[in-house]
Amino acid sequence: MLETLPVLQLPTKTWMPRLSFAPKYSAPRGDTLVVIFLRGAADVLNMVVPHGEEAYYQLRPTLGIARPDDSKKMKEQRAVDLDGFFGLHPNMISLLAAWQSKQLAIIHACGAPDESRSHFKSMELMERGIGDERGPASGWIGRHLATLNTGNPSPLRAVSMGDNPQRSLSGGVPVSALRSIADFHLGGDARALQQMRAALNYVYQNDELGQDTLSIMDTLQKLDPANYQSTNPQYPDSDFGLALKQTAMLIKAEVGLEVSAIDLGGWDTHFTQGSLNGIMPNLIKDLADGLAAFHADLTDYMGKLTVVTMSEFGRRAYENGSLGTDHGHGSMMMVLGGNVDGGKVHGQWPGLSAGQLIGPGDLAVTTDYRDVLSEVLLKRLNNPATHEVFPEYQPVMRNIFL
């Protein structure tokens, strides 16, 4: 079901033709996709807590998050119940509104088949969207952009909110990193700017990325980041908050944004990760409050927006001796958007009992992350080429979208 697209007000005349190759498929632009990668292997068992499992509390006597009905704990120390079996970490309570509006879905025990438990290998395979290293070197988002012609000439078709473009974006169209929209200018007075621009335009005459950078500079100059007002809840004062806020700004400015890739790092919590306070709870709060603000800010745009969170793998089901968790396997994904079959924890729960854990004591994977992303591609991005985006993989539709 394709919706009619608003006519974009694009200053196309300054833009160079962008597609030097011919994408196999043509379709109107689908949703704006926001992909949030939680780097370092997020401890999802303390984010979406299986409070209905006794084994969880045996495995995590210190780190475990109390049951929603645990009368020995204060309310703010207990999980926030979602469905009688799973509950959110109390620092994620800000996401309850999105959950109750049925625009937030959770896919638990989700992940990749790779069992190296290596951050770097797992991230690489996941960002390239492949099962083993012999697959294509480009990234899954890059291949999505390269296979689908959406008739969108914007240099802001895909952006990376950070210092450098993510691996997942590679191989499609040139992608610019946007750490800060406010800093994305050359400085100087009008005359100096004109001189710099002319010289750069000249030396970059044959360079697509350079031309894109110039056009982005022109486009962003018209925005006014210092005075951007988000509707109500404030974004967290963090790099992640800024990345989401800038994404919202670009969406509202209708500059042709199709994909925004955002990293939130620091999840490799081997040591004193904290249960209710500390490193991990702070990260959870940054994530949840950021997403909640984004959701509230873009209420009117939710019908054309899909946000996905992912992480390279999950952490060991049992806590280690230093009040942290070692590398595990099964992870969790969240999908936020107006067309999500939300307010539900999707996926088959494999359980945390001895016979149900795998390897050294890890949550099993029952939903491949590529199933979720394939459904995003097919149902929300109008891209039928899932076999090219995820080569040698036959996705199973998990009905995460309505």
């Binding site: 770097f120 450098n164 473009p165 710099m196 040591f271 280690n320 070692d326 050294p360």
Partner: protein, 490 residues
């Protein structure tokens, strides 16, 4: 995305051919009474840019005088290269030579005038000044390489008072020494053990973090033939490897009471109970493992030769690694002597970009004022959070041009505090020194060869059309060359 020579020379049409270069030589007379600018072939220029942080004029002269092989040998014998001037510049940074205990003491809030940022700041600034001014360029390039290989994020608590010692006693001490000694020192380094949580790896409650990265990132590589069980067993060997918290705080300590009992099996070796010696046996085994040789040599080849270096060079270097039991210089000789001829363009990492501009134009800088631009470009010293170190592959760095452009213009206009770039001193600005000849000189310094005449003339027309004054024009040319696609590659 593979990059061919052709991609590199996107500006190829702007460059003169090698033959035409000689014809252009008279245009370089602008250097009269300055150090003559030696023109190197494209291959030589690339080689020099791989073994330095960007070729300085005098380095080009020396290279042209003695040739590649002798130049590399001279650089490998780094201890005999006089670096006194740099030594004087660094003498103000007193934390560089302190023990962890001393650094902690002066950054402790009990100390009058304490400043917790001081050791971090001094180490960053010293690293920058060494890369900019040291005559021992290949040595500094290797220090940079090992700082990535044994990456430590300096902002993780409480590494701010430990990293300085790691930098001095692990990385700098062994950068051109023996890999086994380097690995041994790193494994006993309090900064590394803290960074990868091994002080929390204790009997009955193992923490796998360091054990895993020791095999995955420091030695064997992820496909080097270890299993999850090896990780868990090595973690048991490493229980009790810790850092002193009192009396000589910040020193390595083995705590027998925290060490796991029993025999351990790592990589097929039955490790008998022997305390600290258990992990040390494994470290010895890992240091000279064939997978390690291959993994290290492949990384070096990627750094010095190409993102996809020839397999034969890696094999040959790995053989040298094993035959010499990890002698880094012997490995480098293979990589450089056999490999540089196969060099493919590499996208400059931010440090290379900034330093090569400063070095080519003989600019002066104190470093501290460049930390912010480097951060925006994505590569401030010791600021990469994960243990894999800053990426090396070209592709990882493409897509963030704006901060590089900003730097180019700010540098040339002398808008960066404590950083001076004196074009007038560099060029002939007398009435006879034409804009063209100055532009040729700038292009030769920065890109290795003058610009194609037609390309330059059109560039001048473009700049003239913006009504730039002559002095502005020269600045715009210099800045545009630094900002240009060609200068992003080395």
């Amino acid at each position: 995305m593979s990059l061919t020579r052709r991609d590199f020379l996107k500006l190829a049409t702007f460059f003169s051919s090698a033959a035409a270069l000689n014809a252009c030589a008279p245009a370089l007379r602008g250097f009269a009474n300055k150090t003559p600018l030696n023109l190197l072939s494209a291959v030589e220029f690339t080689a020099l840019n791989r073994i330095t942080f960007g070729a300085k004029m005098e380095e080009r002269a020396r290279f042209a005088e003695i040739g590649l092989q002798a130049y590399i040998e001279e650089q490998l014998a780094f201890e005999s290269i006089n670096d006194l001037t740099l030594g004087l510049q660094l003498s103000n940074f007193s934390t560089l030579n302190m023990s962890a205990n001393e650094i902690e003491a002066i950054t402790n809030e009990l100390f009058d005038g304490y400043n917790r940022r001081r050791p971090i700041h001094e180490l960053r600034q010293a690293t920058f000044l060494r890369q900019l001014y040291s005559q021992r360029q290949l040595y500094e390039v290797m220090v940079d390489f090992w700082s990535d290989h044994f990456n430590i994020f300096i902002e993780k608590e409480p590494i701010f008072y430990l990293k300085t010692v790691d930098d001095r006693e692990v990385i700098r001490k062994h950068a051109l020494g023996n890999f086994r000694d380097l690995l041994w020192a790193s494994a006993h380094s309090p900064a590394m053990l803290t960074y990868l949580d091994n002080q929390a790896n204790v009997k009955g409650a193992p923490n796998e973090n360091y054990a895993r990265e020791l095999m995955e990132l420091h030695t064997l590589g992820v496909n080097g033939g270890y299993t999850q069980n090896d990780v868990m067993q090595l973690a048991r060997c490493l229980t009790g490897w810790s850092v002193k918290k009192h009396f000589w705080l910040g020193e390595f300590v083995f705590k027998p009471k925290q060490h796991a009992d029993g025999v351990k099996n790592v990589l097929g070796l039955a490790i008998q109970e022997s305390g600290q010696h258990e992990a040390e046996q494994v470290i010895e085994h890992l240091a000279l493992h064939p997978s390690t040789a291959k993994f290290i040599c492949a990384k070096l080849a990627r750094r010095f030769i190409a993102d996809n270096p020839p397999q034969e060079i890696i094999e040959k270097a790995a053989q040298a690694f094993l035959a010499t039991k990890g002698d880094i210089k012997s490995v480098l000789r293979v990589i450089l002597f056999d490999g540089l001829a196969f060099a493919q363009p590499k996208y400059k990492r931010p440090l290379n970009f900034v330093l090569s501009a400063l070095r080519a134009l003989n600019a002066e800088a104190n470093g501290a004022t460049l930390f912010k631009p480097l951060l925006r470009m994505g590569q401030l010293y010791f600021n990469w959070t994960t243990p894999d170190g800053y990426p090396d592959a070209s592709e990882a760095w493409q897509g963030n041009l704006m901060p590089r452009w900003q730097f180019a213009f700010e540098l040339i206009r002398n808008e960066i505090p404590k950083t001076t770039c004196d074009l007038n001193a560099l060029l002939d600005v007398s009435p006879t020194g034409s804009l063209q000849s100055n532009a040729d000189t700038l292009a030769s310094l920065l890109l290795g060869a003058p610009l194609d005449r037609l390309f330059l003339n059109r560039m001048l027309d473009t700049i003239h059309s913006t009504e730039a004054a002559p002095e502005e024009t020269l600045q715009i040319i210099a800045a545009s060359l630094i900002a240009s696609p060609a200068f992003q590659w080395r």
